[in-house]
């Protein structure tokens, strides 16, 4: 598949007002709303080529349908990576991950996925092929169109190719799990931000049994990933153990072999459903208030007699709340009321996963974002007939 063929297709669809639903690996298909209309499904999986592997420049150009796993495999030959940190890397595509604006756990250390995008080729709804940026790592010639497409859910243009800068893979990784005894939770979570050597990821988890390493103590468990050179890991390990000791956590389990696999399993859990009887929310908080807010919404879910799994990203302040029930029917009976109550407390909570039939009735995008009118105007200028992913994103986008 080529940009030109996609341009022909979109031009034709635009003239006929056919709705085009753009899909990649479908890993985030239950993030956002289902499309309102779907006349043509445009899969980017045919766009699976590495366009240019410029290892000596620490850059790479990939078609949007390249999977994160395939991209990582190419880059690992050069000892480099791009920290997408998105779930189900074997299926997730570069284009889909960027279009969904995925925000992973290591962004506090390495940067957001958007900050690795140095160029793009996109096709607009009317078939215009638009290139932006290039293969240089620093560029201020014109507007940053590539970043505009990131997080736009394919509603402004179809990403065909993205150019990325890469960074060196840290030589070593070490994962940790620890059970939190009674009375240690708040103190343990508060430690992570203060460590002199910031961990690449640090989570507090309650539940997600089987999906994530470790067993809950009385107040859940913590998982962390350290990355760096061997001496840095050794020092960070000592720091981490003494910090956890001060917080009252007696025992820390070290995972050296398979540390990154363990890390990836945790990321997969972000969107893992419980059959068709769960809905997963994400709350954007701050590291200093995320635990409290996560516990508040967990308690709220318990008042609705929902089961909960909670994951708190202590470095970035993300809270992931998965609510579920005995079966889809039981969940369906209360999820709308819970969704209302949740948004009373946390207006900007969004739904990131859950294949329940009532999902479209929930406030999956939370409160309208600031600047929404400008976004609407951009949409009208880029896709006046509204053919790209109609209904999938914020109302009218």
């Amino acid at each position: 598949m080529t940009a030109e063929r996609i341009a022909d297709l979109l031009r034709a669809c635009n003239e006929e007002r056919h709705a085009v639903v753009v899909t990649g690996g479908n890993t985030l298909a239950t993030m956002g709303l289902p499309p309102l209309r779907s006349d043509v499904v445009l899969s980017t999986l045919g766009l699976g080529a590495i366009v240019e592997d410029a290892a000596a420049d620490l850059t790479i150009a990939a078609q949007s349908g390249v999977t994160l796993q395939d991209l990582a495999a190419v880059l690992s030959h050069h000892g480099t990576f791009v920290p997408f940190d998105a779930p189900r890397a074997a299926d997730a595509t570069v284009g889909g991950t960027l279009a969904a604006g995925w925000l992973g756990p290591r962004r506090h250390l390495y940067g957001r996925p958007r900050d690795f995008v140095i160029g793009s080729v996109a096709v607009l709804a009317d078939g215009t092929i638009a290139r932006a940026g290039g293969m240089v790592v620093k560029n201020v010639s014109g507007y940053d169109m590539s970043r505009l497409y990131v997080g736009s859910f394919g509603t402004l243009a179809v990403l065909v190719q993205v150019n990325l800068k890469t960074i060196a893979q840290p030589p070593h990784a070490r994962a940790f799990t620890m059970r939190l005894p009674e009375g240690t939770r708040a103190r343990a979570v508060a430690q992570w931000q203060q460590l002199p050597i910031a961990p690449a990821a640090a989570w507090w988890v309650d539940g997600f049994k089987g999906a994530i390493d470790g067993e809950d103590g009385a107040e859940g468990r913590m998982l962390a990933l350290l990355e760096g050179s061997e001496p840095v890991l050794e020092r960070a390990t000592r720091d981490l153990r003494s910090a956890m000791g001060r917080a009252g956590v007696p025992e820390t389990v070290v995972i050296d072999a398979g540390a990154r696999a363990s890390f990836e399993r945790t990321i997969d859990a972000y969107i893992a459903p419980v059959g068709e009887r769960s809905i997963t929310y994400r709350l954007a908080c701050f590291p200093d208030d995320v635990l409290e807010r996560a516990l508040t919404v967990r308690d709220l879910a318990h008042r609705f007699e929902l089961r909960t799994d909670v994951l708190v990203d202590a470095m970035n302040g993300d809270a992931i709340l998965r609510v579920s029930d005995l079966d889809a029917h039981a969940l369906g009976a209360k999820i709308e009321m819970f969704d209302d109550a949740l948004h009373d407390d946390e207006p900007s909570a969004i739904v990131i996963a859950g294949n329940h039939p009532k999902r479209p009735l929930l406030r999956v995008w939370g409160a309208l974002p600031e600047g929404f009118e400008t976004m609407r105007a951009l949409k009208a200028r880029f896709d006046p007939n509204g053919i790209l992913n109609p209904g999938r994103f914020l109302p009218g986008l």
């Binding site: 000892g79 604006g101 790592v137 201020v140 970043r147 760096g228 969004i350 400008t374 986008l397």
Partner: protein, 462 residues
Amino acid sequence: MLIDRLNGALGKEAVKVQPEDLLAYAFDAYTDGPPPTAVVLPSTAAEVSAIVKIARDEGEPIVPRGAGTGLCGGAVPVEGGIVVSFARMNRILELDTARRRARVQPGVVNLDLSKHAAPAGLFYAPDPSSQKVSTIGGNVATNAGGPHCLSYGATVNHVLALEFVDHRGEIVTTRLDQPGYDLTAVLVGSEGTLGIVTAATVALMRLPEAVRVWLATFDSVEAASDAVSAIIAAGIVPTALEIMDAVAARAVEAAFHAGYPTDCGAVLLVEHAGFDDDMAHAESEIARIAREHGATTWRSARTQAERDALWAGRKGAAGAMGRVAPNYYLQDVCVRRSTLPQALHAVGEIAREYDLTVANVFHAGDGNLHPMLCYDKRDPKQVQAVIESGNEILRTAVALGGTVSGEHGIGFEKREAMTAVYSPDDLATMARVREVLDPLRTFNPEKIFPSGARCPETKAPA
């Protein structure tokens, strides 16, 4: 009418209309233009909003202005209009050290923010060489870089939210990491053509535990570039990799006595920040690659004072050029990092061809070249040679797969060069954003986009 309305909205003391005042706002570090119709100095976003409404009603363009250190005419009026100076909007509104962020007005000076954050162990990473005077607002407008954006990224990576006044005069906020289009990313680097930023929330980083600065010397700037390409290709990205050629090093040393060697072809300045445990290994790796690629000497800056002096020299390099020639023209292009030696070689050839002295001081690790073409502007032949060689450097960068601006922006100077990098469709796509955010062409007209049908007036750098 226009002036009366501005006086009414801001008070007379915030509106300048005297010819001698207006002249002071008709230039930047690149060029000058016709004086504006008026200069206004708002103190609040509400006042900026009033200015935008008045300008829209009166059909006057608005040219936002930070410290005027821009190098491509971005803050220079092209057709009169109202220059909005942010000299009075220079407060740090909030310094949230726990959440490592600050909310600032656009007129805050870049370095002042880092100074305020330092006691909490934090700093603001983007550090353009102009940081002692240039403002956060201006930095946002040009997506300013600096030596340290090699590992920390340019301004766009550090802006978390913006408050701006849109074409209707409405005060709008954009925020990162919320559902919706990334308006923040579009505003950063838009050179004041999409709206007027009235506040920015920026990320602060923790000061590194260890910082080392090393100096390597080479026989030629090509050899130094070759070493940089090799360091990058090995996957090593220090916090800064800066090259200074012999012409520049001598001028800098004469001006600052910073400790730069003056008897070599080029100097490579390497800074690495991180953890103490990693420094010895990093030094041995980088030094090894440098030596393999022709480094003749390698030394370490031992004290903080020595490091500061080297950086002061580096950041003052443009100012030191006065020792080489009465005038210089600073070009800014970015190439793929593996093509650095070719690009530097080509710059040398072009300078020779036009019989100009060139000094190179640049962010080598990013592939971001800054050839400074030295000349005397009283000699029209030299002026013409500078214009032509500057254009040739642009063409060379594009031919090597690079771009026409790495960090200074397009402004007025380079707008015709945009067609060398982008197709009409690419530019028309950017123009759609412009049409939505600035439908009446109120904000900084005649910038970034090529003039199209109209005949461009080639202007000598001032």
